[in-house]
């Protein structure tokens, strides 16, 4: 208790001499502190290479069936890629499932090319030292094929509406040793973690800004990251187990986000921290 007493005395002294801490400077949301940094990048987004690579993968015959993905139906008919990304996630009758772009691509690789799903699911996203994966490249190209088009996920089929509700429940699901849910960081306006602005994903503006910008070239990692990766890595930081690619949780959350963002134009691939 002697220590406590001396600390209190020190404080009284400090107060006497008027040395108490002045209000420290405080940034607003992002307060534009990275504006200068971001402006220096201009339009030079290395995602352009990845978009080209994605296009090459789409047309490249692969797998036991030595077939390309040209016949893949992303929801607008076999081979229609323009605008397809903006309409996902959606219900696919041929699979009787709700799918996001990654789940659909894996489905098409299995059905059209005869490639086992594990081939992609086991190594979907770049690891350190990689320049990119096939899945990232395909998603980048497909997103680019929807650039400028309004986000319009399916909500007609019962399963589509069910997944919106499921996504909303998941968004608020608090668990793990840190008690985190998506809403912990993304449920209020004007917040940041360290210096990174956190979009309020429950609002149309916040969801639109976030959903429309993924996939994105992530300058910290030098690779294009997808929305599926964004979800997986958020859950890692939530201290949850590993989120599966194209899994029900990722599809449901993306449905919740896309519906909340509906109407806003796609602007991907963007450029992210």
């Amino acid at each position: 208790m002697d220590l406590m007493e001396s600390i209190r005395n020190a404080w009284r002294l400090a107060a006497l001499f008027g040395l108490l801490v002045a209000a420290a400077p405080s940034f607003g949301e992002d307060a534009g502190i990275f504006d200068e940094y971001r402006a220096m990048f201009g339009d030079d987004n290395p995602a352009v290479f990845v978009i080209d690579e994605g296009e090459e993968y789409w047309f490249e015959p692969q797998g036991p069936k030595n077939s390309s993905l040209e016949g893949c139906d992303l929801g607008l008919g076999p081979g229609v890629v323009e605008g397809a990304y903006a309409r996902l996630p959606r219900y696919f009758a041929d699979a009787d499932m709700m799918m996001d772009v990654e789940a659909r691509l894996i489905f098409c690789m299995r059905e059209l090319q005869g490639r086992p799903s594990e081939e992609i699911q086991g190594y979907p996203y770049s690891m350190r030292g990689d320049l990119g994966t096939e899945l990232e490249a395909l998603v980048a190209w497909l997103a680019d094929q929807s650039s400028g088009m309004p986000i319009a996920p399916g909500q007609e089929h019962a399963k589509e509406r069910e997944f919106f509700t499921l996504g909303e429940q998941l968004f608020y699901y608090r668990a793990g040793p840190h008690d985190f849910s998506c809403a912990t960081c993304h449920g209020q306006e004007g917040k940041r973690i360290r210096l990174q602005a956190l979009p309020d994903l429950t609002s149309h503006e916040g969801a639109a800004g976030a959903y429309s910008a993924w996939p994105a070239y992530r300058i910290s990692e030098g690779v294009v990251r997808t929305m599926g990766w964004r979800m997986r890595d958020c859950f890692r930081q939530q201290r949850f187990p590993l989120l599966g690619v194209g899994s029900d949780v990722t599809v449901a959350l993306q449905t919740y986000l896309a519906v909340t963002a509906a109407g806003a134009p796609m602007m991907a691939p963007g450029l992210k921290r």
């Binding site: 502190i33 990275f34 200068e36 940094y37 971001r38 220096m40 990048f41 978009i51 080209d52 690579e53 296009e55 090459e56 993968y57 789409w58 047309f59 490249e60 990689d130 320049l131 990119g132 994966t133 096939e134 490249a137 190209w141 680019d144 094929q145 973690i193 360290r194 210096l195 990174q196 300058i219 910290s220 990692e221 030098g222 930081q237 921290r273």
Partner: protein
């Protein structure tokens, strides 16, 4: 970006990310041999060593306009721009970029040859908050400008 047929398809089979299928460029060998790499300067591990390897500690010059962000969102990619006011600093033959606290401060050396302006823009890695240096070499020696860039800890910190 629409799909093209023809030549594009032929190279599709060759492409695999992570493996560089470099175009075998017909580069005249004289291009590579014209200027010797200052290997000692690239291998130096601090600023003093880097300057020593170049042969001189540069003098500050207002003629070098060095733009870097005050604060970088990520140290992996920090944009830099070097311009030279030739009325203050004429005859620049080379520009160098150095990052004080990187394992090897020397990041790049640019030689201006036929008609090139003393101007360069690139992006460099900055391991931690420190000074960045823009160095110009002229017939009368080495000159420099420096600027601190803060590198922040990102996101959730893990």
């Amino acid at each position: 970006m629409k799909h093209e047929s023809g030549a594009g398809i032929a190279r599709r089979g060759l492409l695999r990310m992570g493996v560089f299928v470099a175009a075998v460029a017909a580069v005249p060998t004289k291009l590579w041999a014209a200027i010797t790499k200052p290997s000692a300067a690239f291998a130096a591990t601090d600023m003093d060593g880097t300057f020593a390897a170049l042969g001189q500690t540069p003098t500050e010059s207002a003629g070098i306009i060095f733009t870097t962000p005050d604060i970088a969102e990520n140290g992996a990619v920090v944009p830099i721009k070097i311009e030279v006011d030739e009325s203050l600093l004429p005859g620049v033959r080379r520009l160098y970029v150095m990052v004080e606290k990187n394992p090897n401060p020397m990041a790049a050396m640019f030689s201006m040859i036929e008609g090139a302006a003393p101007y360069v823009e690139t992006r460099v890695k900055v391991a931690q908050t420190c000074n960045l240096y823009a160095v110009a070499e002229t017939d009368s020696g080495f000159f420099m400008a420096s600027k601190e860039t803060k590198v922040t800890l990102g996101g959730c910190g893990g």
